[in-house]
Symmetry: D4
Subunit: 158 residues, 8 copies
C-alpha cells in the first residue's frame, strides 16, 4: 500500500469519527446511560464501557433521575442518533438522600429567594412550574431501590 | 503502628469517602462541570481531572446546555454540596447542530406524536411547557461559540 | 566495599531470615492472624500485609474460629515467638453457614461413621470429646457478626 | 450483545463466586492444603496456585500438623465442599523445632499457668485433654522429614 | 541450527542494512518525504512511519519547500535509490509565515550584508542568483494551503 | 488553584508552543542540525535530542551537505529564529558515495534529459547553473571524513 | 491434573536440570564458547545466547586464547558432555594488546620474581615450562584478526 | 551546555570505556572471578555484579579451577590491570564430579589417543606434561567443598 492510500484511509476513518452525527453513525453500542453527576461514580468501570471512546451517550444529573432534560436527551438519542438501549444507574449514599426537600426549601427561602415565581430555565421562559411545586422539582428521595425502579418505569412509558 | 490502628485509620478514610454528602464534604476541587453527553468527549482528559475519583460533579445532557435540570443540579451542588466553580464545555460537530429543530419536530409529528400537549417530565406533572414551544425546548443550535457564550451568561445570571 | 564484604553481608541477612525462630527474631509486625481457609479470601490485601514476606503468622481453619489448635498456635506465637497482636477475620457466605450441624451429623451417620467414639486427633489419643458433642465440635454457625465477636472474646480471655 | 445481557451475565458470574458454598461449587482445583502459619512460607508460589483466587482451601496452624482442627477442616472440605486432594507442606527451620516441649512446659509453669487443668477450647468445654498430656498437645518436633511422613499417614488413615 | 549458521545469517542481515545503497536496496516503503525543519513537527507519528528504521528518505528544509536542493535530493532518491512515492508536508504557524521577505531583506541589509552579490552555495560558485532575486530566494509565504498545493505541482512537473 | 486558572495556564502554554515563531521563541536548544535524508539515520538518538519535541531545527538533504538551501535555512534559523549552534552529521555508506557523478550524469542523459539547460528550482527561474556544472551540482563524494570537514568549513565561513 | 501430578512433573523437570552432567544431558545448543575474561564483553548478547540458562559452556581466559586449559575444557565438553560446536570470540582493545610481553617480563623481574624456575600450576607440579619460554606463555599479541584466525586453527587441529 | 560540549563529553566517556586497558583503567570493582564454564551458573546474579558492564574479569574453565591458565590470567589482571580481589566459585553437581579421571583416561585411550606424548597447548610447545600425569591434568574431583578450599589456597600462595 502506498503511503498516499494509507493516509487517505486514516483520514476517512478520523473524518467518520468527527462527523458521526452528520453522517448518521450511532455510538458504538447504540447505548444511552442515565446516571448521577456524583464525583465518585466509576460509571465506565461499572458498566464495562468507555464513555469517551464512542461507546455510549452518558446523561448525568443530580440523582441520575428521569427529568424533562433526560427525556429530551433520550428522545434525541433514540429518535435521531440511533440509540436502542438505555441503562439507568442510581447509587447509595447519593447527595439526593442527604436531606428532605422541605429542609432545603426552607434554607433557600432563608437566603431570600422567592421560590414561587422563579424562571427554571434561563433560556426558555415557556417552561413553567406550578406554584408550590418547587420542592417536588428538586426531586430529593430517600429510598434508592424504589427511586431506581421508578426511573425505569418513567423511561419505559416514554 | 499496630495493625488495629492501621485498619481503623483505613476504615475511617473509606467511610469519609462513602459518606461525603452526609458529612458535608465537598468534591475534591469544589467543581461542577456541564457538558454534552456525546460518546466522543474525553472530558476528564480535556480538563485534567478525574470525574470518578472525587474531583467534580459532572452534569451531562444533550448539548451541554443550561436547562432547568442543569439549574437544579448546579443549585444543589453549589448551595448544598460545597461547589464553588462551574465549567461549561460545548463541542464542535455536536449532534445538536446536525439538524434544524423544525425538521425534527416535523419528523416527530410524522411519527404520530402530539407535541402540543405533552408531559415533559413523567414524574412532575407540575412542569408545563407553553403551547408551540416544543421546538425551542429541544434546544437545537447552529453556532457552537455563540451557544457556549450564552450558557456561561445563563449560569452567571443565576 | 570489597565483594567479600558484600557477600558476607548478604549471607548474614539471609541466614537471619532462615533462622528467625532459632535466633528469637519475631515476625515483622509481631502479628498473628486467625482466619478462614476459604479459597476466596484475599487476606493479605484485606489487611495490607504480606503473609509470606515475614509480616505475620497466619492461622487458617474452617471458619476462622478459636479452636484448641488456634489456642495452641497463638500461645506458641505469643509466648515464644514474639507476637503481640492478633487479628481475627471471619467472612460472609462462609461454608460454616451453609448447613446446620445436625444436618451434617446425619449425613455423616448415613455414610456409616460412628461419631460417638471417634479419635479426633490421630496423633494425640489423649484428646477426648465427650459423648454427644460431635455436632458442637463441628462449630457450624449462622450469624457471622455474632460469631466474630465471640472469637474476639475467646481470644482475649486467654 | 446488549449491555443488559452483559450486565446480567457479569452479575451471575459474581453471584456464583460469592455463593459457592451455598450453591455446592467446590474450589477450582478441588484441593486442600495443610501447612504452617510461618510468616516466611510462599505457599502459593511453592505449589503454583492462588489460594485467594479460588484454587484451594488453605489450612494453616503452628507446624502444619494434622490436629483435631485439621481433621475437622479437612472433613468439612472433603465431605461437604467437594475437595478431593490434600497436600501437606512442612518446612525446615520451623518454630516447632526451636525448642523441646518440656522446656516450653517449664517456661509456662514458671509464668504461673496450671497446665494440668486447662480448658483447651474456650468455646467447647466438651473437649478434654488427659492429665500430663499437655506437652504432647503442643506437638513440638525435631525431624521435619519424619514429621511430614507422619502427617501424610494421619491424613490417609482418615 | 548451529550457532555458526545463525551468526552468518545475522551478519548477512546487518550487512544488507549497512550496504543498502551499494547493493541497490531501496528504503522500506520506497518513499520520500519533503517537510519543514521545524522543531515541533512529529513527522514520523503524523505519517505512521519510522524515518530512522529504514522507512523513508526524509528531506527537510526551512518551509518544506521544493527548492533546487529538494529537486536534487528527490532526483537521486527516485532515479537511483528506488523511491517511487513522495509526500509533501507543510504546516500551520510555520516560521516562513512569520514575516514578509522584504522585512527580512531590510533587516539583513541593516546588518551590512551585500545581498546583490552573494555566493549562495559556498561549494558551488557555478550557482548564480539574478540580481534582485534575493527576497524570492528566501521563499517566505503567507498561505499554507496555497503553498502546499504549489509544492505538489512543482514536484509533479519534474 | 481554580480549574479556570489551570485551564488558562494550560492554554497559554500551548499557545506559546504553537506560536513560537510569531512570538520570537527559539527552539529549546537554540540548535540547528544539518544531516542526510538517509532512511537509516537515528539522528535523535545519535545527538541525544528530540527533534520533534522542540529541541532543534533539523535540515536534511541528500548527503547532509551545505547547499544554497542549507545556507537559506541556516540563515533564517540563525538570523531570525534564535539558533546559535549548528551541528553537521555525515555518515558512512552514504548513497552519495555509491557512484561517481559522471556515471549518474551519463545515466540521466541516456534517459533523454537535457542537463545543460535545466531549471533547477521550479519556483525560482532566477536561480541559474552555469553550463557544464550539473555534475558538480549533484555533489557526489567519496571520502566522508573529508566531506564532513569541508561542510564545517563552509558553514563557518558564512 | 491433580496437584500431586503437577508437583511430580515440576520436581522431575528441576531434577533433570540439576543433574544434567550425571544424566548425560548436553547443554541446550551443544555449544562451547571460548572468549576473553574482559569486563566489557556482552558475550551473551553478541551471540544471541543465554550462557546461564543452559545454552552453552563458556570458557573465558585472558585473551580468549586456546591454551592447555582451553584444550582440557573443550576436550571434556566435546568428548564427555555432548558439545558439538565451538565458537571463538576475540575482541579489539584487548588487554593482551596493551603491552609487549618483554615489557611485562621486565616489570615482573623488577618486582623480584624468578621467572626461570616457576611452578605454573600450583596443583600440578608435573606441568613444566621450558626455560626462557615465560614470555611466550604470557601470550600477548598485537593483531586481533591474526590471533583469532590462529585460535580457530588450533581448535580445529585438535 | 551547547550540544558540542555534550557530544565531546559523551565521546570522551565512551573512549575511556573502549580504551580502558591502554589508559590503565581497572574494572569497576577491581575484581577477578574464577568459576566454572557450566551452562547453568548465573554467576552475575550469584555475586550481584554485571560481568559485561565493566564490573569484573570473569575467568571460566572446566571446574572453576586454579590452572596455569588461571594463574596467567590472574597475574595479568592483578599485576597489570589493577585487580585487587579474586572470588572463586565452584558448584555442586559439576561435570568434573561426574566420573573418575581413570575412567575418562581409559575412554580416551579406547578412542586411540596416545596420552603419553601429547602437546597440551598447540601454540606453546615449550609447555610439557610429565609422563603419566595426564589423568591429574584433567583435574576431576569428587568433593566440592574440599576442592573449593584448595583453590583458595592455591590462589593465596601466589
Amino acid at each position: 500500500m502506498t503511503l498516499k492510500h494509507q493516509l487517505e484511509h486514516d483520514f476517512k476513518h478520523r473524518q467518520e469519527w468527527a462527523l458521526r452525527r452528520q453522517l448518521g453513525i450511532p455510538n458504538n453500542r447504540r447505548l444511552g446511560v442515565c446516571t448521577c453527576m456524583d464525583e465518585r461514580l466509576p460509571i465506565d468501570d461499572a458498566l464495562g464501557i468507555r464513555g469517551d471512546r464512542g461507546d455510549a451517550h452518558v446523561f448525568r444529573n443530580a440523582g441520575g433521575l428521569i427529568t424533562d432534560d433526560a427525556i429530551r436527551s433520550a428522545m434525541l438519542s433514540c429518535q435521531f442518533f440511533g440509540t436502542e438501549e438505555i441503562v439507568i444507574v442510581n447509587h447509595t449514599e447519593c447527595g439526593m438522600m442527604s436531606a428532605h426537600a422541605e429542609t432545603l426549601v426552607k434554607a433557600l427561602r432563608d437566603k431570600g429567594l422567592n421560590l414561587d415565581d422563579i424562571q427554571l430555565d434561563p433560556a426558555l421562559p415557556d417552561l413553567k412550574l406550578e406554584k408550590g411545586a418547587f420542592a417536588r422539582w428538586m426531586k430529593m428521595f430517600s429510598d434508592v431501590d424504589e427511586i431506581c425502579a421508578q426511573q425505569v418505569d418513567f423511561a419505559i412509558i416514554r
